[in-house]
Symmetry: C2
Subunit: 385 residues, 2 copies
């Protein structure tokens, strides 16, 4: 009960600060004495600060302003992509305070080497955060692969990295800072849900980096599937007898709307640019016919796969995240056209499909926010002052 | 709290009777006095009966045997199919006590006429149940159509009946006995979950009558989608440029694995037999080549659509229900082969796909069991004695 009330008070402060203790009591419906005790505990645990006096112009004894601590507990997010490593620290308000991204080829490198480099970046990011007065309370690592519900700490398969059954603890240099792995598409969806204005509570978030993943948020919660493998949109068959896929099947969406397929169709080679997504966007903006054709074809394949998702799951919304968000101007028309043609047994509004506001920053932000959201839900996770 | 404890005690009696009051107290971890008061209330509400004395050979003062009342509260299930109407009454133990099915062409008939006939069958079934000492406490109607989450009482679309926006209350003769509509595939899945031994708690249940529907049970609960339209497996595209479907799209599963498509491929006409499913099974059992070919083709299309469901939802299991259960001997090999070829980014056991034990009885049974399950969860729904 105290746990819930601490969360309630912290949520009120986060959503409406500056508030005095009296304001909080009025808002959450607890007595002033109870709120004061809860606020004292939140201050002790470093979650909340109390200023000298409010600047409110209201009549009566001025309360002192409470605010969520921006020099206290923080979440560290890490990301291993096929061609980059990232680190991010967000404070308890959810604001990113440290953001690092290093381009680096990770595909086919030994997991131990990739993880050691990620750990080094994590150490740098943490030091930078500490210099800002922040204290890292949790570490989550976004990976482009399958993370089963159990056992904890395992990346079962990350085909685009060449990983199979990698247990992070086996390779991470410092046993005290081993991060918790999570699928990048799941984290991108959560970041979208947590940090942007959402009308949809049940939605499918599609993200593309080198591969294509999706995440299902059902009634505001991530649905990971019976074993943690939900959302493998990239391997939905869109052409039953289509081209072979690296996964062993044929005609998978990834072969039509994945980065390599789009680049090939656009007449580009994957290593032609440091940032192939930006290159595609530039060429499309310049009216390059082959690029426009490739994106149209990708959009139609994506629309076909998403039609299956709509028929099965009946979401409120569909979000195009990751690289797709940056290519949305050219993808949306054909995805929407395909959905309009396919989804006909129920009402479906074209606007229910929209690009993510976070784009490729989503997974890393989601990784960092995971810790913050846990603390907001249960402030007793923080060490007592 | 009392609500929960009533449910706890009723569940103990249902699962382990005969039990004495003392046995129940031992099992649920409440005091004997508390259990006695709860048992008295359950007896007063008609949910439980208490016999004169147990026949147990145990030492000590013999308790009197408690049992779930089989002459008390009951659930009435109704079903409107394309070519039949059904009614069923189950007692509080979940046992079917009345079962009626009348073959009758409903497609294209006015909804008012079909509902009036269903209401007449419901009246007969209820009278038969009352003669057995049962008291109908709730009415649910299984329909082959889309039932939105809201407003209550609406069948939004039932294409194979020719219904569009039918509000049951507008046509049902007696305002006191209007049933609650629910999609037949959903009810089939719930019946499977409630009445058979299940290892899977997250599964996709496919059912076929004239159309093809599916239902998603996630962690033991029916998932209806954001608006109530989840599980439209029949309109998943399996051939992007395939044959036109009645829904307006092309290449929908229903055009390859629906009853009409299978009959056509098998060289039969829909009206050749009173029971086309039984006819298909007979011909397949006799080795009729065209029938075997049609079922193999249907199984491959179904496997393709189910591969999408597995990639997206990651269920523990897949269940073939309705007519598919009766054709499972000939469908399972090709569905399993297709799943094996398509599902390759995760472990997938062929045994995770299995036929329903209930077959075409599922939806009607699920409709009747809905009321019973509600009472078991909240016995205070019953009028106090």
């Amino acid at each position: 009960m105290r746990r819930q009330n601490l969360s309630l008070v912290l949520g009120a402060v986060a959503g409406h600060s500056p508030l005095s203790r009296a304001d909080v009591a009025g808002r959450v419906g607890l007595t002033r004495a109870a709120v004061s005790s809860l606020v004292d505990e939140l201050i002790g645990r470093g979650a909340v600060t109390e200023a000298a006096a409010t600047a409110s112009g209201r009549v009566g004894r001025p309360g002192r302003a409470l605010a969520v601590n921006d020099r206290g507990p923080a979440g560290l997010g890490l990301e291993i992509g096929v061609t980059h490593v990232g680190a991010c620290v967000v404070d308890l308000r959810g604001e990113p305070r440290v953001w690092r991204r290093v381009e680096r080829e990770n595909a086919g490198r030994p997991a131990a080497e990739v993880l050691a480099r990620t750990a080094a970046l994590a150490t740098d990011a943490q030091a930078e955060a500490e210099a800002l007065g922040l204290r890292v309370e949790g570490r989550v690592l976004a990976v482009p692969g399958v993370v089963p519900n159990e056992p904890a700490g395992l990346v079962e398969r990350a085909p685009n990295l060449g990983w199979c059954a990698v247990r992070l603890a086996d390779h991470w240099p410092d046993p005290d800072t081993v991060p918790e792995p999570e699928n990048e598409a799941n984290l991108g969806a959560l970041a979208e849900y947590w940090s942007t204005e959402q009308t949809a509570r049940t939605f499918v978030h599609v993200s593309a980096e080198t591969g294509i993943g999706a995440a299902l948020v059902i009634d505001g919660r991530l649905f990971r599937g019976a074993r943690g493998f939900a959302g493998e949109l990239g391997h939905i068959p869109v052409q039953p007898d289509g081209v072979p896929c690296a996964c062993g099947a044929r005609g998978c969406l990834e072969q039509y709307a994945g980065e390599a397929a789009v680049l090939r169709e656009a007449g580009l080679t994957p290593h032609e640019a440091a940032d192939p997504v930006a290159l595609l966007a530039d060429r499309a903006a310049a009216g390059h016919a082959a690029t426009l054709g490739a994106l149209d074809r990708a959009g139609r394949a994506l629309g076909l796969a998403l039609a299956s998702a709509v028929e099965l799951i009946d979401p409120d919304g569909l979000v195009l995240g990751g690289a797709y968000a940056e290519l949305a101007d050219w993808l949306l028309p054909s995805v929407r056209a395909e959905l309009a043609a396919r989804v006909s047994v129920r009402p479906w509004a074209p606007q229910a499909l929209r690009p993510s506001a976070l784009g490729r920053r989503g997974p890393l932000l989601g990784a960092a926010l995971t810790t913050v959201r846990r603390i907001m839900t249960d402030p007793m996770l923080l060490p007592a002052g």
